[in-house]
């Protein structure tokens, strides 16, 4: 796969890798081959057939054909030009001439290619059928405009993993027979298929029930699938695109805010939609629809500002969340050094400690892998993370590897997740009890670790769980049985029926009990895996050569997090697994690297985006307003260890943290002046903000900001780990996680993300308990109690209830202090 080869496209010699598709090779070298249905990271659909090229004298589809050394490719021949023109004419058959009212107009691939192929006259026709539009909630589907390129269903299956869309029968008349003879071959074949299908929902209803990422609408080349919230709001060409980095989770997706004046009377900028480079990055619903969380401030509130200064002088603690930029984190750290205050950020502190503990064995300041590498592997394990809501991009990586890379996945989590289970056939899920994450890591070491190299005490410890046991297996074998059967037969001579004995042999399936010795792994039993687990795992592990482990916040907050961190490092060291850690919030990684965090809150605290004695807030509910993430420039550190720049999409007229810092004796004209000062010893680079790029190259290379350097740290060589504790949580349990599309109060503030706050319970749990949706319940744990409403959630299964953090009306922190799981009593009030 990695062999460099030379191929020739249109007399231009280009270097590429063996097995790379011709289309991608051409695109990487700026050679244009038209293609409609192809999506870079997904499997080729072969629906449009327009990427037809001639390779070594044979017509092939560029999206599908792999390059071989010395290949000679011609992108356009006379015949191919005829095919392409015919294909575009076919696409225009019965396509309504309503570009004036179509949202895609101006960025429509059908418009573009129709012009590119010079279609000025139509030769084909077919009787149309009723194709009236559907309202699918946050999406609007107009089959009349649909060209059935299947990009939506492809991205949903290969990238997102919801499998919500598929092609359904159109019910149209067959094409006239004469076209088969008169039309170019591929165009006819494409039309024949097109005329038989439209897009529909896999659940068979007219109600979309998915994780609402909107990626299908983003990839739609025409105006068939559009976001309901954007429908008929603005023409594409009126919008100005502001390149940015999504500020909702740690994935740090590249997005662009599309802004325009608010309305005729108001010239203030407003964000109309969020766009992404869908060939290279996929967004979740929060990134795509949660954009209007800005904090509109009319003017500088001097009184509040002076109060803030006083508060800062008086305070001994600054409390903050990780939804801030690296520069702001740097300002806070500088303030700590200058004023001698404590910096408290519980969630970042947990992550920081975990990284430090991990580094003691791994010898690196950061985990070794990232989501890009995860996609490229073909066996992925996820531990300690509610993947679909903690970091949707991690879930996409898992799904993409399984569907496109023939990979397999193993998902360990106490909360049952139908979305994860539905990703692909090769996903295995194991519901273990909370607090058993240690056992899971030991199991991974046991299954995949190199026993010869592992420290001997660990090997012995692992071996102590193994025993051979004799099990009785019933096998079905086929046995040859000879039996004598009496048959009635007609005697030819007498003409009478008489009984004759006939000897017959036949194969008869027979159940045989056999006693065999098998290896019995007690770890599996402890985790509650079923008997088939090993069998299925062995099947899934066939032909897998690269492995990835994603770990999440359940481990960072675990009471034995130190031991877990060391185990993770051991797995990285003694197995083929590469580690990716999922930072809990947008910039948890950046904060963990930049700030020197403390544990305890002092007597008087200033809170930044969190409640303090004096509160600075970008949510607009504090004592002094701050700009929200879409109103400020700065950099964010993503899960991919990349420092991504983001720009201000909307104006902000109030004070920002830098103004306070300047008044307190720091000196910088703009917040982004600090980009240059970010600590080099932690892996940052001395780069000026204005020099940081933010785009993707034609071949998919990510040219955004810069990658953090993974600094090596000296290790003591002590690789001892503690044995796992037998503790586990049982009974009624609550878990701290958000529904998909919600991360923080910022996502809650947006108008399009309408998830209701409350305690989430699975339909299964609600049906067997006395509780009903909408009931007010009191949740009581050892830390405290709260009262909230039950919300039924069909995206989880099992008995564990979920408490969200995005709704500031629900003070989940009062109930769950550190570890994300807690036993709780839930009573109706």
């Amino acid at each position: 796969m990695s062999n460099n080869i030379t191929i020739t496209i249109d007399d231009k010699e280009i270097q590429t890798k063996e097995g790379e598709t011709l289309l991608n090779a051409a695109r990487a070298n700026d050679i244009f081959i038209p293609a409609i249905c192809y999506l870079t990271r997904c499997s080729p659909t072969l629906a449009c057939r327009i990427c037809l090229v001639e390779a070594d004298g044979k017509q092939v589809y560029a999206c599908n054909a792999k390059s071989k050394d010395g290949m000679n490719i011609t992108t356009t021949t006379e015949n191919i030009a005829k095919e392409r023109r015919a294909i575009m004419e076919v696409y225009d058959v019965n396509h309504p001439l309503q570009c004036g009212v179509c949202d895609q107009s101006g960025e429509c691939e059908l418009q573009n290619y129709t012009l590119e192929m010079g279609v000025d006259i139509q030769h084909y026709s077919v009787k149309d059928v009723d194709r009236s539009s559907h309202d699918w909630g946050h999406l609007h589907y107009d089959p009349g405009l649909c060209i059935v390129c299947e990009r939506c269903s492809t991205v949903c299956k290969d990238m997102i993993g919801d499998n919500s869309l598929k092609t359904i029968p159109r019910g149209a008349d067959a094409l006239e027979a004469e076209f088969k003879e008169t039309m170019p071959k591929d165009a006819y074949a494409m039309w024949n298929k097109l005329n038989k299908s439209v897009i529909g929902l896999t659940n068979g209803t007219d109600v979309l029930d998915c994780t609402s990422c909107g990626e299908c609408a983003a990839v739609c080349p025409v105006g068939a699938l559009v976001d309901t919230q954007f429908m008929y709001k603005s023409n594409a060409w009126e919008l100005k695109q502001i390149p940015a980095t999504c500020g909702h989770c740690s994935a740090g997706c590249q997005i662009s805010y599309d802004v325009k004046h608010t309305n005729i009377a108001n010239t203030d900028k407003k964000i109309y939609r969020v766009m992404n480079e869908w060939n290279y990055v996929s967004l979740c619903g929060a990134g795509r629809y949660g954009f209007d969380y800005e904090n509109r401030v009319e003017s500088k509130d001097e009184v509040a500002f002076n109060k803030a200064l006083e508060a800062f002088k008086k305070a001994d603690t600054i409390k903050f969340t990780s939804t801030i930029t690296n520069e702001e984190a740097y300002i806070l750290q500088s303030l700590k050094e200058k004023l001698g205050v404590k910096l408290v950020n519980k969630e970042a502190k947990a992550f920081q400690t975990f990284l430090k503990d991990y580094g003691e064995i791994s010898g690196t300041s950061l985990y070794g892998s990232d989501l890009k590498e995860v996609i490229a592997t073909n066996f992925i394990v996820s531990v300690g993370s509610a993947l679909k809501s903690d970091n949707p991009n991690a879930r996409y990586a898992l799904n993409n590897s399984m569907t496109v890379n023939k990979g397999a996945g193993l998902y360990f989590h106490p909360v049952g997740d139908p979305i994860i289970e539905g990703l692909a056939k090769s996903i295995m899920t194991l519901k273990h009890a909370p607090l058993q994450e240690e056992v899971v890591l030991y199991l991974i070491l046991d299954l995949f670790g190199d026993k010869e190299k592992l420290p001997s005490d660990i090997t012995e410890y692992l071996a102590s769980f193994h025993s051979t046991k004799t099990v009785t297996v019933t096998e079905t074998i086929k046995e040859k049985v000879t039996e004598i059967v009496k048959e009635m037969k007609l005697n030819d001579e007498t003409g009478q029926e008489e009984e004759v004995e006939v000897e017959k042999t036949k194969m008869v399936p027979k159940k045989v009990s056999k006693e065999i010795e098998v290896d019995d792994n007690k770890l599996l039993e402890i985790l509650g895996a079923d008997d088939k687990f090993m069998e299925k795992l062995e099947k899934n592990l066939k032909k897998k050569e690269s492995f990835a482990l994603m770990v999440g916040a359940d481990l960072y907050t675990h009471p034995n997090s130190k031991n877990l961190a060391r185990l993770v490092a051991l797995i990285e060291k003694y197995s083929a697994f590469e580690i990716t850690m999922i930072p809990q919030l947008t910039n948890s990684l950046g904060v963990a690297l930049i700030c020197d965090l403390d544990d305890e809150v002092g007597s008087y605290s200033v809170g930044y985006n969190t409640k303090g004695d004096f509160t600075l807030s970008a949510l607009g509910d504090g004592d002094l307003d701050m700009p929200a993430m879409n109103q400020q420039e700065g950099t964010l550190t993503s899960i991919n260890k990349r420092v991504n720049p983001t720009n201000a999409a909307l104006p902000y007229n109030g004070y920002e943290l830098n103004d306070i810092a300047n008044a307190l004796g720091l000196k910088a004209e703009n917040t982004i002046d600090y980009t240059y000062n970010l600590p080099i010893e932690k892996g940052f680079k001395s780069e000026r903000f204005d020099d940081l790029p933010n785009h993707y190259e034609n071949d998919g290379t990510e040219v955004r900001g810069y990658l953090l350097e993974n600094i090596s740290i000296s290790v003591s060589g002590d690789e001892s780990v503690e044995k796992f504790s037998d503790e586990k949580l049982e009974g009624s349990i609550v878990y701290l996680a958000n529904p998909v599309r919600q991360f923080t109060p910022f996502t809650h503030k947006t108008t399009n993300l309408d998830e209701v706050g409350g305690v989430y319970m699975s339909e299964e749990f609600l049906s067997k308990s006395e509780l009903n949706e909408g009931d007010r319940v009191k949740i009581k744990t050892k830390d405290g109690e709260l009262v909230t409403t039950i919300v039924s959630d069909n995206k989880i299964t099992g008995d564990i209830a979920i408490l969200p953090t995005f709704d500031s009306k629900i003070n989940s922190e009062a109930v769950i202090s550190s570890y994300r799981f807690a036993t709780a009593s839930i009573e109706r009030v």
């Binding site: 570009c99 004036g100 009212v101 107009s105 139509q122 309202d135 008929y232 309305n263």
Partner: protein, 204 residues
């Protein structure tokens, strides 16, 4: 080339050289001119001409604003929004091409989704203070919805002066009696357009 022909200013009998005195140079001469001009009461000569014509009632100009000159169909004054003859509904589909093409950047359009899931124009304004009446909006309009009309009186106390959608739209009563005027200027359909169009085959 000789310059005699240029020197000979006595071209024809119809032309004559105006006898203009040389400008006085001496202070005394200048003083004399001032006195002469002051006391010859030339002002009243002019006034007399006006009064004479006033009483003769021989008026050769258009008496604006009572009377107005007829405006040609291609004249480009304040915009009009037309309605469909068939249904009296607005022709404008909200495509926004006029907003895009406007060189003076004076058109703004706002659209929304109406209750029938169709695109609807919710707000439309033209800043007449900025408009240069170039006619591009009328030319680009695919529906012949925005056109220029003949109303050219758009003086305003302010430089910014907006006209809104409702003001430009043909009133329904005008529509009812069939008095909407079709625009024959930029962007109107050329005669015999049908003969030039390449027909799309239909499978019905």
């Amino acid at each position: 080339m000789k310059d005699e022909q240029f020197n000979n200013r006595n071209v024809s009998n119809e032309y004559f050289l105006v006898d203009i005195e040389d400008y006085p140079t001496e202070p005394w001469d200048k003083f004399k001119r001032v006195v002469k001009r002051t006391f010859r009461l030339e002002l009243f000569v002019g006034l007399w001409v006006v009064m004479r014509e006033f009483f003769k009632f021989e008026i050769h100009t258009v008496s604006y604003p009572e009377e107005k000159m007829p405006i040609g169909p291609r004249y480009r004054a304040i915009h009009e929004m037309k309605r469909l003859w068939e249904s009296d509904t607005e022709r404008c589909i909200g495509c926004g091409l006029c907003e895009k093409i406007c060189v003076a950047n004076c058109i703004r359009i706002e659209t929304k989704r109406d209750e029938n899931s169709r695109k609807e124009v919710s707000e439309y304004s033209i800043n007449l203070g900025r408009c240069i009446y170039c006619g591009f909006c009328a030319e680009v309009c695919p529906e012949l919805a925005i056109t220029h009309g003949g109303r050219y009186e758009n003086a305003s106390e302010q430089r910014e002066h907006f006209t809104m959608y409702e003001d430009m739209l043909t009133p329904l009563d005008t529509m009812k009696v069939g008095n909407q005027l079709e625009f024959e200027g930029f962007g109107a359909i050329t005669p015999h357009e049908d003969e030039r169009v390449k027909k799309t085959p239909l499978a019905y």
